[in-house]
């Protein structure tokens, strides 16, 4: 009994010491970050030596002139009378000052951020033909929006396809190929489970070495005649399509491929 109390005390004191030593490490002072520097964005055109095309040079000159004009308006160079320190401002003087402030606020010509901050090269990146088209034709606006949406979708699915072993473009190419080959049986019941999973072993050139319907047992079940028909149509699609569009490299990653043919989405849509 005494022995166990002794060991308990030893262990507990050891733990306390360990904690006392290790805790200061955990409470390390934060890394000294260098002070944040404020960087003014300037036009590359001011510094660069690369000559612009004649047209671009004219535009830039015009912009420069506008800027200069704007700057002069923003900060008027009116000379102020030297004021005596003890001079009490008269109400008229106060009004004058207020007017000047008002002038500053009513900036006569706004200089757009794009002009001030982006170079001609950067502007090219901002140019989106779909957006321009959308301005001309209202109907194109929808297309532009759709493209944006698609881009978002693409970005999210990129992650998935990396995880899968095919890049997005490779997966898309394969899908597009099979979409064209799959003749969907049109008499399918729309309210049943219409997912057929087919496992393939591929050769390096994309031809099918072996194919297997994963839910094979369902094909012979009573009342599942439509499933057999659906599975056959999927197998037919694979045969029509082969050789499948597979990447030229990374054979080990895609030699075993599972295609999930889902007719539900199409029939419901």
């Amino acid at each position: 009994m005494n022995k166990s109390i002794f060991w308990s005390l030893v262990f507990h004191s050891f733990m306390i010491v360990l904690t006392a030593i290790s805790l200061p490490f955990m409470m390390r002072t934060p890394i000294d970050l260098p002070p944040i520097l404020t960087v003014d964005l300037i036009q590359i055109t001011d510094k660069t030596n690369i000559p612009f095309a004649a047209k671009a040079a004219k535009i830039l000159e015009k912009i420069k002139k506008e800027e200069q004009r704007v700057v002069s308006e923003q900060a008027p160079t009116t000379k102020k009378k030297k004021e005596k320190p003890d001079r009490i401002p008269m109400p008229e003087d106060l009004n004058k000052e207020e007017k000047q402030i008002m002038k500053k606020k009513q900036n006569p010509k706004e200089v757009k951020d794009e002009i001030r901050q982006a170079s001609e090269f950067e502007k090219k990146e901002l140019f989106d033909p779909n957006q321009i088209a959308a301005l001309i034709d209202k109907s194109k606006e929808e297309t532009a929006e759709t493209l944006k949406k698609n881009k978002k979708l693409t970005q999210s699915s990129v992650k998935n396809s990396f995880a899968k072993g095919l890049t997005l473009s490779q997966e898309d190419a394969l899908k597009a190929q099979i979409f064209g080959c799959w003749s969907l049986p049109l008499g399918l019941p729309y309210h049943k489970n219409l997912l057929v999973r087919i496992k393939l072993r591929l050769k390096q050139d994309g031809t099918v070495l072996r194919s297997e319907v994963l839910d094979h047992a369902r094909m012979n079940q009573p009342g599942q005649g439509f499933y057999k028909v659906l599975a056959e149509s999927a197998l037919r699609a694979i045969r029509i399509c082969q050789p499948l569009r597979v990447p030229p490299s990374g054979y080990e990653e895609w030699k075993d491929l599972q295609l999930n043919f889902d007719a539900n989405e199409m029939l419901r849509g």
């Binding site: 439509f226 037919r236 029509i240």
Partner: protein, 447 residues
Amino acid sequence: MKKLILIIFYLFIFNIPAFAIVEVDITRGNLDPLPIAVSPLHVESGSKDIKQEGKIIKNVGEKISKVIETNFKRSGLFNPLKKDSFVQNPDIAHVKPRFEDWNLIKAQALVTGSVKVSDDKLRVEFRLWDVVAAKEMIALAFSTTPDNWRRVAHIISDKVYERLTGEEGYFDTRIIYVSETGDKTQRYKKLAIMDQDGANLKYLTLGNELVLTPRFSPKNQLVTYLSYFRNLPRVYLLDIETGVQEVVGDFPGMTFAPRFSPDGKKIIMSFAKDGNSDIYTLNLSTRVVEKITEHSSIDTSPSYSPDGKYICFNSDRSGLQQIYVMRSDGSNVKRITFGKGLYGTPVWSPRGDLIAFTRVHKGKFYIGVMRPDGSGERLLTENFYQEAPSWSPNGRVLIFYRETKTDSDGKGFSAKLWSIDLTGYNERLIETETDGSDPSWSSLLSK
């Protein structure tokens, strides 16, 4: 033991990299009708021509393949390829086809076969091939009297349809309807029956009595219909096979739309008694009439669910004509339509999953379908005047009739039979000799 624990420990620490199987979801496909090649059936040597109704039918193999092709085309699910493009000759009934030749013309399925007429017997063999997989899908042979060659073509169509779509066909069926002639103000109405493709038309009544609402029994080739004899409505029972007709009963007042129960033992209808229309059943063996609904409103157009447990009907008990569902004993009445306009002529699908109906809204007539609980309403077709949908035995196609407007001179009126697929596509006119109304689709003859 220690070793085992160590191994497990190491497995946890050092993950062995493994490639997960690459999965690709295919959610889109080609919705075009399936390209199918129907090779003319090869006529065996020594085969005779067929004599039918004084006409001699030569090369029955080609005729059969033509009927099959027409059936497929009308279904909207298949695209029969032109025979001009066929590379291989039809004499391939007993050998494997050269699949490369059929692949070349993009056929995905191929029908081949042979015909022989001898000793007043017609023997037809056919095979269905999966061109892409290069394998046989089905092979059958039929033997019948030569007159039945069209039916054989329909049966082959059904077998192919079933094998390629997974659901029962509807080609070996007949349609009964009311044939109409004469001006709009003075129509002569006769009962007419034909194959589903319009062939073999026969008139069953002479046209001296008004006939209405013929309905097939779901079990056999019996038909019930309503006829006015000396201005009194009578419900008749007609056996199509034997031609025997019997009066089921005289009913007082207005009587509407007699229809069989799913087991064919009862007739359900509505008739007015004491100025009030209710739904009644008539037991065909005992001739006992049973009242199903008891309401001061007008209850008409009853139709049983395929299991016989429920009845859908239309009633104006809510003020406007709407569709209701109740148990077959008349209990638990529930209204299932709440849309604008009027709903009528509900018919339960043979599959049990849908109810077809006619809807009238803002002067337009629609044929639509909905689930038995009233959800998922889909209007399939819209027109000036159309009603009375009837289901094909596989619950895939609806047949109905459509009337056209008369012009200012009172001319131009016509009533025609039309069919439409459950999807709302493939709307087709069914060619009839005269105008037609009130169609009813039979069950499969070969069942």
